[in-house]
Protein backbone atom coordinates (compact mmCIF):
# COMPACT_ATOMS: atom_id res chain seq x y z
CA UNK A 1 0.00 0.00 0.00
CA UNK A 2 1.33 3.41 -0.89
CA UNK A 3 2.28 5.33 2.20
CA UNK A 4 2.52 8.97 3.01
CA UNK A 5 6.19 9.12 2.08
CA UNK A 6 6.89 12.41 0.39
CA UNK A 7 3.44 13.80 1.22
CA UNK A 8 3.62 16.32 4.00
CA UNK A 9 0.78 16.23 6.50
CA UNK A 10 1.88 19.37 8.35
CA UNK A 11 -0.96 21.60 7.19
CA UNK A 12 -3.50 18.79 7.74
CA UNK A 13 -2.26 18.36 11.30
CA UNK A 14 -2.14 22.10 12.09
CA UNK A 15 -5.57 22.80 10.56
CA UNK A 16 -7.23 20.02 12.50
CA UNK A 17 -5.39 21.04 15.67
CA UNK A 18 -6.61 24.62 15.16
CA UNK A 19 -10.18 23.36 14.86
CA UNK A 20 -9.89 21.07 17.89
CA UNK A 21 -8.10 23.63 20.09
CA UNK A 22 -11.08 25.99 19.71
CA UNK A 23 -13.29 23.41 21.45
CA UNK A 24 -10.77 21.82 23.82
CA UNK A 25 -9.20 23.47 25.72
CA UNK A 26 -10.33 26.98 24.69
CA UNK A 27 -14.11 26.42 24.52
CA UNK A 28 -14.02 24.30 27.66
CA UNK A 29 -11.99 26.99 29.43
CA UNK A 30 -14.47 29.66 28.34
CA UNK A 31 -17.28 27.62 29.91
CA UNK A 32 -15.27 27.28 33.11
CA UNK A 33 -14.37 30.99 33.04
CA UNK A 34 -17.98 32.12 32.64
CA UNK A 35 -19.08 29.70 35.34
CA UNK A 36 -16.50 30.89 37.88
CA UNK A 37 -17.21 34.55 37.14
CA UNK A 38 -20.90 33.91 37.68
CA UNK A 39 -20.05 33.82 41.41
CA UNK A 40 -20.18 37.60 41.09
CA UNK A 41 -23.93 37.10 40.79
CA UNK A 42 -23.99 35.37 44.19
CA UNK A 43 -22.04 37.90 46.25
CA UNK A 44 -18.79 39.90 46.17
CA UNK A 45 -17.43 37.85 49.08
CA UNK A 46 -18.20 34.57 47.35
CA UNK A 47 -16.55 35.91 44.17
CA UNK A 48 -13.42 36.96 46.06
CA UNK A 49 -13.28 33.60 47.82
CA UNK A 50 -13.50 31.65 44.52
CA UNK A 51 -11.03 34.04 42.83
CA UNK A 52 -8.44 33.58 45.56
CA UNK A 53 -8.98 29.81 45.37
CA UNK A 54 -8.29 29.87 41.62
CA UNK A 55 -5.36 32.23 42.09
CA UNK A 56 -3.69 29.76 44.41
CA UNK A 57 -4.12 26.50 42.48
CA UNK A 58 -0.90 24.46 42.51
CA UNK A 59 1.13 24.60 39.25
CA UNK A 60 -0.78 27.74 38.33
CA UNK A 61 1.72 29.14 35.80
CA UNK A 62 2.33 25.88 33.89
CA UNK A 63 -1.41 25.18 33.88
CA UNK A 64 -2.23 28.66 32.59
CA UNK A 65 0.49 28.34 30.01
CA UNK A 66 -0.49 24.90 28.67
CA UNK A 67 -4.27 25.10 28.95
CA UNK A 68 -4.95 28.76 28.24
CA UNK A 69 -2.17 30.94 26.84
CA UNK A 70 -0.49 28.54 24.43
CA UNK A 71 -3.74 27.18 22.92
CA UNK A 72 -5.18 30.70 22.51
CA UNK A 73 -1.97 32.00 20.93
CA UNK A 74 -1.84 29.06 18.53
CA UNK A 75 -5.56 29.19 17.70
CA UNK A 76 -5.40 32.95 17.12
CA UNK A 77 -2.16 33.14 15.16
CA UNK A 78 -2.90 30.12 12.99
CA UNK A 79 -6.43 31.44 12.59
CA UNK A 80 -5.03 34.67 11.15
CA UNK A 81 -2.99 32.60 8.70
CA UNK A 82 -6.14 30.68 7.67
CA UNK A 83 -7.95 33.99 7.22
CA UNK A 84 -5.16 35.26 4.99
CA UNK A 85 -5.51 32.07 2.94
CA UNK A 86 -9.16 32.78 2.15
CA UNK A 87 -10.84 35.28 -0.15
CA UNK A 88 -14.28 36.07 1.21
CA UNK A 89 -17.03 36.70 -1.34
CA UNK A 90 -20.11 37.18 0.84
CA UNK A 91 -20.92 40.61 -0.59
CA UNK A 92 -21.69 39.21 -4.04
CA UNK A 93 -22.99 35.87 -2.77
CA UNK A 94 -24.88 36.65 0.45
CA UNK A 95 -25.86 33.14 1.53
CA UNK A 96 -26.15 32.66 5.29
CA UNK A 97 -23.32 30.14 5.57
CA UNK A 98 -21.10 32.44 3.52
CA UNK A 99 -21.78 35.27 5.99
CA UNK A 100 -21.06 32.89 8.89
CA UNK A 101 -17.67 32.24 7.25
CA UNK A 102 -16.96 35.99 7.19
CA UNK A 103 -18.31 36.60 10.71
CA UNK A 104 -16.23 33.74 12.11
CA UNK A 105 -13.11 35.59 10.94
CA UNK A 106 -14.13 39.04 12.15
CA UNK A 107 -15.35 37.80 15.54
CA UNK A 108 -12.10 35.83 15.80
CA UNK A 109 -9.92 38.91 15.48
CA UNK A 110 -12.19 40.94 17.79
CA UNK A 111 -11.96 38.23 20.46
CA UNK A 112 -8.20 37.87 19.97
CA UNK A 113 -7.70 41.60 20.51
CA UNK A 114 -10.14 41.62 23.42
CA UNK A 115 -8.36 38.71 25.13
CA UNK A 116 -5.07 40.59 24.77
CA UNK A 117 -6.59 43.62 26.53
CA UNK A 118 -8.43 41.49 29.11
CA UNK A 119 -5.39 39.38 30.06
CA UNK A 120 -3.11 42.40 30.17
CA UNK A 121 -5.36 44.40 32.49
CA UNK A 122 -6.83 41.84 34.88
CA UNK A 123 -4.11 39.19 34.81
CA UNK A 124 -0.79 40.99 34.41
CA UNK A 125 -1.34 44.57 35.62
CA UNK A 126 -2.98 43.13 38.75
CA UNK A 127 -0.18 40.56 39.18
CA UNK A 128 -2.72 37.76 38.99
CA UNK A 129 -4.79 39.02 41.90
CA UNK A 130 -8.03 40.70 40.89
CA UNK A 131 -10.86 41.32 43.30
CA UNK A 132 -14.57 42.04 42.88
CA UNK A 133 -13.89 45.67 43.76
CA UNK A 134 -11.29 45.98 40.97
CA UNK A 135 -13.68 44.74 38.30
CA UNK A 136 -16.63 46.72 39.70
CA UNK A 137 -14.44 49.83 39.63
CA UNK A 138 -13.48 49.19 35.99
CA UNK A 139 -17.11 48.54 35.04
CA UNK A 140 -18.08 51.98 36.32
CA UNK A 141 -16.60 53.20 33.04
CA UNK A 142 -19.19 52.75 30.26
CA UNK A 143 -16.45 52.34 27.65
CA UNK A 144 -15.06 49.34 29.48
CA UNK A 145 -18.58 47.92 29.74
CA UNK A 146 -18.91 48.33 25.96
CA UNK A 147 -15.54 46.67 25.31
CA UNK A 148 -16.50 43.72 27.49
CA UNK A 149 -19.95 43.41 25.94
CA UNK A 150 -18.44 43.34 22.43
CA UNK A 151 -15.80 40.83 23.52
CA UNK A 152 -18.40 38.55 25.14
CA UNK A 153 -20.80 38.68 22.20
CA UNK A 154 -18.01 38.02 19.70
CA UNK A 155 -16.61 35.14 21.77
CA UNK A 156 -20.07 33.59 22.18
CA UNK A 157 -20.74 33.74 18.44
CA UNK A 158 -17.27 32.45 17.60
CA UNK A 159 -17.67 29.46 19.92
CA UNK A 160 -21.23 28.60 18.81
CA UNK A 161 -20.42 28.87 15.11
CA UNK A 162 -17.13 27.10 15.77
CA UNK A 163 -19.00 24.13 17.24
CA UNK A 164 -20.94 23.84 13.98
CA UNK A 165 -17.74 24.12 11.95
CA UNK A 166 -16.07 21.55 14.18
CA UNK A 167 -18.90 19.05 13.76
CA UNK A 168 -18.51 19.31 9.95
CA UNK A 169 -14.71 19.43 9.89
CA UNK A 170 -14.33 16.33 12.03
CA UNK A 171 -17.02 14.42 10.19
CA UNK A 172 -19.43 14.14 13.13
CA UNK A 173 -22.31 15.83 11.31
CA UNK A 174 -22.47 14.49 7.74
CA UNK A 175 -26.07 14.60 6.53
CA UNK A 176 -27.75 17.96 5.92
CA UNK A 177 -30.14 17.15 8.79
CA UNK A 178 -27.35 16.53 11.29
CA UNK A 179 -25.44 19.61 10.08
CA UNK A 180 -28.55 21.70 10.59
CA UNK A 181 -29.00 20.22 14.07
CA UNK A 182 -25.34 20.98 14.85
CA UNK A 183 -25.96 24.54 13.66
CA UNK A 184 -28.93 24.96 16.00
CA UNK A 185 -26.93 23.45 18.83
CA UNK A 186 -24.14 25.96 18.17
CA UNK A 187 -26.69 28.80 18.07
CA UNK A 188 -28.08 27.72 21.46
CA UNK A 189 -24.57 27.55 22.93
CA UNK A 190 -23.84 31.05 21.59
CA UNK A 191 -27.04 32.44 23.11
CA UNK A 192 -26.41 30.80 26.50
CA UNK A 193 -22.83 32.14 26.62
CA UNK A 194 -23.95 35.61 25.54
CA UNK A 195 -26.71 35.76 28.19
CA UNK A 196 -24.44 34.53 30.99
CA UNK A 197 -21.59 36.82 29.93
CA UNK A 198 -23.80 39.90 29.76
CA UNK A 199 -25.40 38.99 33.10
CA UNK A 200 -21.93 38.92 34.69
CA UNK A 201 -21.16 42.39 33.31
CA UNK A 202 -24.50 43.62 34.66
CA UNK A 203 -23.62 42.08 38.02
CA UNK A 204 -20.39 44.05 38.28
CA UNK A 205 -21.81 47.23 36.81
CA UNK A 206 -24.95 47.43 38.99
CA UNK A 207 -23.77 45.36 41.97
CA UNK A 208 -26.55 43.03 40.98
CA UNK A 209 -26.53 39.73 42.89
CA UNK A 210 -29.62 37.78 41.80
CA UNK A 211 -28.32 34.55 43.38
CA UNK A 212 -27.71 35.98 46.87
CA UNK A 213 -30.77 34.09 48.11
CA UNK A 214 -28.64 30.95 47.78
CA UNK A 215 -26.48 32.17 50.66
Amino acid sequence: MASAVGVTRTSFFLDKLQSLSGIVPIGAYLAEHFFENSYALVSPDKYNYIASKLETVPWRIPLEFLLIWLPILFHGCYGLYIWWNGKANAIGHPWMTNWLYVLQRWTGIIVFAFIGYHVWTVRFLSHGKTTYADIAHAMANPWIVAIYAIGILAASFHLGNGLWNFSCKWGFAVTPESQRAAGWFGACVAIVFAVIGLAIIAGFRFHWTPFDTYL
Binding site: M1, D15, K16, W84, K87, A173, V174, P176
Partner: protein, 251 residues
Amino acid sequence: MPDKTVIVRIKRRQRPDEPARWEEFELRYRPHMNVITCLRDIAERPVTRDGRESSPASYEANCLEEVCGACAMLINGEPRQACSALVDNLEQPICLEPLSKFPLVRDLVVDRSKMFEDLKRTHCWIPIDGTYDLGEGPRMSPATQETGYPLARCMSCGNCLEICPKVNEHTQFVGAAIISQVRLFNMHPTGKLHSAERLEALMGPGGIQDCDNSQNCVKVCPKGIPLTESIAAMNGQVIRHALKTWFTGHD
Protein backbone atom coordinates in the same frame (compact mmCIF):
# COMPACT_ATOMS: atom_id res chain seq x y z
CA MET B 1 -32.79 46.60 -34.68
CA PRO B 2 -35.99 44.62 -34.01
CA ASP B 3 -38.35 45.56 -31.15
CA LYS B 4 -37.12 43.03 -28.66
CA THR B 5 -33.40 42.61 -28.21
CA VAL B 6 -30.96 40.98 -25.85
CA ILE B 7 -27.97 42.92 -24.56
CA VAL B 8 -24.87 40.89 -23.77
CA ARG B 9 -21.66 42.29 -22.24
CA ILE B 10 -18.57 40.15 -22.53
CA LYS B 11 -15.27 40.55 -20.71
CA ARG B 12 -12.66 39.92 -23.37
CA ARG B 13 -8.97 39.23 -23.53
CA GLN B 14 -7.08 37.94 -26.58
CA ARG B 15 -4.22 36.78 -24.39
CA PRO B 16 -4.03 36.14 -20.63
CA ASP B 17 -1.49 38.92 -20.11
CA GLU B 18 -3.42 41.70 -21.82
CA PRO B 19 -5.83 44.01 -19.96
CA ALA B 20 -9.50 43.03 -20.11
CA ARG B 21 -12.00 45.06 -22.10
CA TRP B 22 -15.78 44.90 -22.08
CA GLU B 23 -17.71 44.57 -25.33
CA GLU B 24 -21.45 45.01 -25.58
CA PHE B 25 -23.59 43.31 -28.20
CA GLU B 26 -27.28 43.73 -29.01
CA LEU B 27 -28.97 40.67 -30.44
CA ARG B 28 -32.38 39.95 -31.88
CA TYR B 29 -34.51 38.23 -29.23
CA ARG B 30 -35.94 34.80 -30.01
CA PRO B 31 -37.98 32.68 -27.60
CA HIS B 32 -36.10 30.07 -25.54
CA MET B 33 -32.67 31.63 -26.10
CA ASN B 34 -29.86 30.63 -23.80
CA VAL B 35 -26.38 32.12 -23.32
CA ILE B 36 -24.84 29.72 -25.85
CA THR B 37 -27.28 30.81 -28.57
CA CYS B 38 -26.32 34.41 -27.74
CA LEU B 39 -22.64 33.57 -28.18
CA ARG B 40 -23.42 31.83 -31.48
CA ASP B 41 -25.35 34.85 -32.73
CA ILE B 42 -22.39 37.06 -31.81
CA ALA B 43 -20.02 34.72 -33.69
CA GLU B 44 -22.30 34.97 -36.71
CA ARG B 45 -22.18 38.76 -36.72
CA PRO B 46 -19.50 40.07 -34.37
CA VAL B 47 -20.45 43.75 -34.45
CA THR B 48 -20.63 45.57 -31.12
CA ARG B 49 -23.54 47.72 -30.02
CA ASP B 50 -21.72 50.88 -31.05
CA GLY B 51 -21.22 49.46 -34.55
CA ARG B 52 -17.60 48.44 -34.23
CA GLU B 53 -16.36 45.33 -36.10
CA SER B 54 -15.11 42.81 -33.53
CA SER B 55 -14.32 39.11 -33.48
CA PRO B 56 -16.31 36.09 -32.27
CA ALA B 57 -15.84 35.61 -28.52
CA SER B 58 -14.07 32.36 -27.66
CA TYR B 59 -15.98 30.01 -25.38
CA GLU B 60 -16.14 26.32 -24.67
CA ALA B 61 -19.32 24.29 -25.09
CA ASN B 62 -20.05 20.74 -25.94
CA CYS B 63 -23.16 18.81 -24.88
CA LEU B 64 -25.58 21.75 -24.61
CA GLU B 65 -27.59 19.80 -22.04
CA GLU B 66 -25.68 20.42 -18.80
CA VAL B 67 -23.82 17.14 -18.60
CA CYS B 68 -20.34 17.94 -19.94
CA GLY B 69 -19.31 20.89 -17.77
CA ALA B 70 -17.46 22.71 -20.56
CA CYS B 71 -19.47 25.93 -20.74
CA ALA B 72 -19.04 27.05 -17.10
CA MET B 73 -18.57 30.82 -16.86
CA LEU B 74 -19.61 33.75 -14.71
CA ILE B 75 -23.06 34.84 -15.83
CA ASN B 76 -24.13 38.04 -14.06
CA GLY B 77 -21.48 37.20 -11.47
CA GLU B 78 -22.68 33.66 -10.74
CA PRO B 79 -20.67 30.63 -11.82
CA ARG B 80 -23.00 28.46 -13.93
CA GLN B 81 -23.40 26.64 -17.20
CA ALA B 82 -24.08 28.85 -20.22
CA CYS B 83 -26.21 26.15 -21.90
CA SER B 84 -28.77 26.04 -19.10
CA ALA B 85 -28.79 29.80 -18.48
CA LEU B 86 -32.01 30.86 -20.22
CA VAL B 87 -32.15 34.46 -21.39
CA ASP B 88 -35.77 34.78 -20.19
CA ASN B 89 -34.57 34.19 -16.62
CA LEU B 90 -31.60 36.56 -16.75
CA GLU B 91 -31.37 40.21 -15.91
CA GLN B 92 -30.06 42.36 -18.77
CA PRO B 93 -27.47 43.31 -19.77
CA ILE B 94 -26.22 39.76 -19.43
CA CYS B 95 -22.62 40.00 -18.19
CA LEU B 96 -20.36 37.15 -19.23
CA GLU B 97 -16.92 36.68 -17.65
CA PRO B 98 -14.52 33.76 -17.61
CA LEU B 99 -14.18 31.78 -14.35
CA SER B 100 -11.66 33.71 -12.26
CA LYS B 101 -10.01 30.89 -10.30
CA PHE B 102 -8.47 29.15 -13.32
CA PRO B 103 -5.73 30.35 -15.70
CA LEU B 104 -7.28 32.27 -18.59
CA VAL B 105 -6.76 31.06 -22.14
CA ARG B 106 -8.81 33.59 -24.10
CA ASP B 107 -12.11 35.47 -23.66
CA LEU B 108 -14.39 33.00 -21.84
CA VAL B 109 -12.07 30.00 -22.12
CA VAL B 110 -10.09 28.94 -19.05
CA ASP B 111 -7.70 26.09 -18.41
CA ARG B 112 -9.27 23.70 -15.91
CA SER B 113 -6.50 21.11 -16.02
CA LYS B 114 -5.92 21.73 -12.29
CA MET B 115 -9.04 19.67 -11.66
CA PHE B 116 -7.83 16.81 -13.86
CA GLU B 117 -4.41 16.87 -12.19
CA ASP B 118 -6.07 16.79 -8.75
CA LEU B 119 -8.31 13.87 -9.81
CA LYS B 120 -5.14 12.01 -10.80
CA ARG B 121 -3.31 13.02 -7.61
CA THR B 122 -6.18 11.72 -5.47
CA HIS B 123 -6.42 8.48 -7.49
CA CYS B 124 -9.98 9.12 -8.61
CA TRP B 125 -10.38 6.06 -10.77
CA ILE B 126 -10.75 2.32 -10.26
CA PRO B 127 -7.99 0.13 -11.73
CA ILE B 128 -9.63 -2.83 -13.42
CA ASP B 129 -6.78 -3.85 -15.73
CA GLY B 130 -3.95 -6.11 -14.69
CA THR B 131 -1.41 -8.41 -16.30
CA TYR B 132 -4.04 -11.10 -15.92
CA ASP B 133 -7.83 -11.25 -15.88
CA LEU B 134 -8.94 -9.78 -12.57
CA GLY B 135 -12.39 -11.31 -12.95
CA GLU B 136 -15.67 -9.79 -11.88
CA GLY B 137 -15.66 -7.27 -9.10
CA PRO B 138 -17.75 -7.65 -5.96
CA ARG B 139 -21.42 -6.63 -6.07
CA MET B 140 -22.46 -3.17 -5.02
CA SER B 141 -25.43 -2.87 -2.71
CA PRO B 142 -28.42 -0.90 -3.98
CA ALA B 143 -28.05 1.45 -1.01
CA THR B 144 -24.47 2.30 -2.03
CA GLN B 145 -25.57 2.72 -5.63
CA GLU B 146 -28.22 5.17 -4.51
CA THR B 147 -25.71 7.24 -2.52
CA GLY B 148 -23.09 7.04 -5.26
CA TYR B 149 -25.24 7.94 -8.24
CA PRO B 150 -25.70 11.65 -7.41
CA LEU B 151 -21.93 11.92 -6.82
CA ALA B 152 -21.25 10.29 -10.18
CA ARG B 153 -23.05 13.15 -11.94
CA CYS B 154 -20.10 15.49 -11.32
CA MET B 155 -18.88 16.92 -14.63
CA SER B 156 -15.84 18.84 -13.30
CA CYS B 157 -17.32 22.14 -14.43
CA GLY B 158 -15.39 23.96 -11.70
CA ASN B 159 -18.27 26.09 -10.40
CA CYS B 160 -17.71 24.83 -6.85
CA LEU B 161 -14.05 25.85 -7.01
CA GLU B 162 -14.93 29.25 -8.46
CA ILE B 163 -17.29 30.10 -5.58
CA CYS B 164 -15.01 28.75 -2.80
CA PRO B 165 -13.24 31.39 -0.67
CA LYS B 166 -10.41 28.94 -0.07
CA VAL B 167 -9.61 28.32 -3.74
CA ASN B 168 -7.24 31.14 -4.65
CA GLU B 169 -3.62 31.88 -5.34
CA HIS B 170 -2.65 31.42 -1.65
CA THR B 171 -3.75 27.77 -1.51
CA GLN B 172 -3.59 24.62 -3.58
CA PHE B 173 -7.02 23.53 -2.30
CA VAL B 174 -8.43 20.70 -4.42
CA GLY B 175 -11.99 21.90 -3.85
CA ALA B 176 -15.36 20.22 -3.30
CA ALA B 177 -15.66 18.34 -6.61
CA ILE B 178 -12.50 16.32 -6.07
CA ILE B 179 -13.29 15.55 -2.42
CA SER B 180 -16.72 14.31 -3.50
CA GLN B 181 -15.15 12.12 -6.20
CA VAL B 182 -12.84 10.57 -3.61
CA ARG B 183 -15.95 9.71 -1.62
CA LEU B 184 -17.53 8.12 -4.69
CA PHE B 185 -14.49 5.97 -5.52
CA ASN B 186 -13.95 4.98 -1.88
CA MET B 187 -17.57 3.84 -1.79
CA HIS B 188 -17.11 1.44 -4.70
CA PRO B 189 -16.36 -2.16 -3.62
CA THR B 190 -13.32 -2.39 -5.93
CA GLY B 191 -12.36 1.24 -5.44
CA LYS B 192 -12.12 0.62 -1.69
CA LEU B 193 -8.87 -1.27 -2.30
CA HIS B 194 -7.17 2.05 -2.98
CA SER B 195 -8.93 4.11 -0.34
CA ALA B 196 -5.76 4.63 1.72
CA GLU B 197 -3.97 6.21 -1.26
CA ARG B 198 -6.87 8.57 -1.84
CA LEU B 199 -7.19 9.53 1.82
CA GLU B 200 -3.48 10.22 2.09
CA ALA B 201 -3.60 12.44 -0.98
CA LEU B 202 -6.48 14.32 0.66
CA MET B 203 -4.28 14.87 3.73
CA GLY B 204 -1.48 16.44 1.70
CA PRO B 205 -0.96 20.11 0.85
CA GLY B 206 -4.15 21.65 -0.50
CA GLY B 207 -6.12 18.72 0.89
CA ILE B 208 -9.47 18.52 2.64
CA GLN B 209 -8.20 20.51 5.65
CA ASP B 210 -8.36 23.70 3.56
CA CYS B 211 -12.17 23.56 3.58
CA ASP B 212 -13.50 26.22 5.97
CA ASN B 213 -17.15 25.34 5.69
CA SER B 214 -18.52 28.39 3.88
CA GLN B 215 -20.76 25.82 2.13
CA ASN B 216 -20.91 27.92 -1.04
CA CYS B 217 -20.02 24.92 -3.23
CA VAL B 218 -23.30 23.12 -2.70
CA LYS B 219 -25.28 26.24 -3.64
CA VAL B 220 -23.77 26.59 -7.12
CA CYS B 221 -23.47 22.93 -8.11
CA PRO B 222 -25.55 22.60 -11.30
CA LYS B 223 -25.93 18.87 -10.70
CA GLY B 224 -27.28 19.22 -7.16
CA ILE B 225 -24.48 17.07 -5.73
CA PRO B 226 -24.53 16.99 -1.91
CA LEU B 227 -21.01 18.43 -1.76
CA THR B 228 -21.02 19.56 1.87
CA GLU B 229 -22.23 16.12 2.88
CA SER B 230 -19.35 14.58 0.87
CA ILE B 231 -16.81 16.90 2.50
CA ALA B 232 -18.02 16.08 6.02
CA ALA B 233 -18.09 12.35 5.21
CA MET B 234 -14.53 12.52 3.87
CA ASN B 235 -13.40 14.55 6.89
CA GLY B 236 -14.55 11.64 9.02
CA GLN B 237 -12.80 9.07 6.80
CA VAL B 238 -9.57 11.05 6.63
CA ILE B 239 -9.42 11.65 10.39
CA ARG B 240 -10.19 8.01 11.22
CA HIS B 241 -7.51 6.93 8.71
CA ALA B 242 -4.97 9.40 10.12
CA LEU B 243 -5.56 8.27 13.70
CA LYS B 244 -5.58 4.59 12.79
CA THR B 245 -2.38 4.68 10.73
CA TRP B 246 -0.60 6.88 13.28
CA PHE B 247 -1.48 4.67 16.24
CA THR B 248 -1.57 1.20 14.76
CA GLY B 249 0.01 1.53 11.31
CA HIS B 250 -1.16 0.19 7.98
CA ASP B 251 -2.93 -3.17 7.78
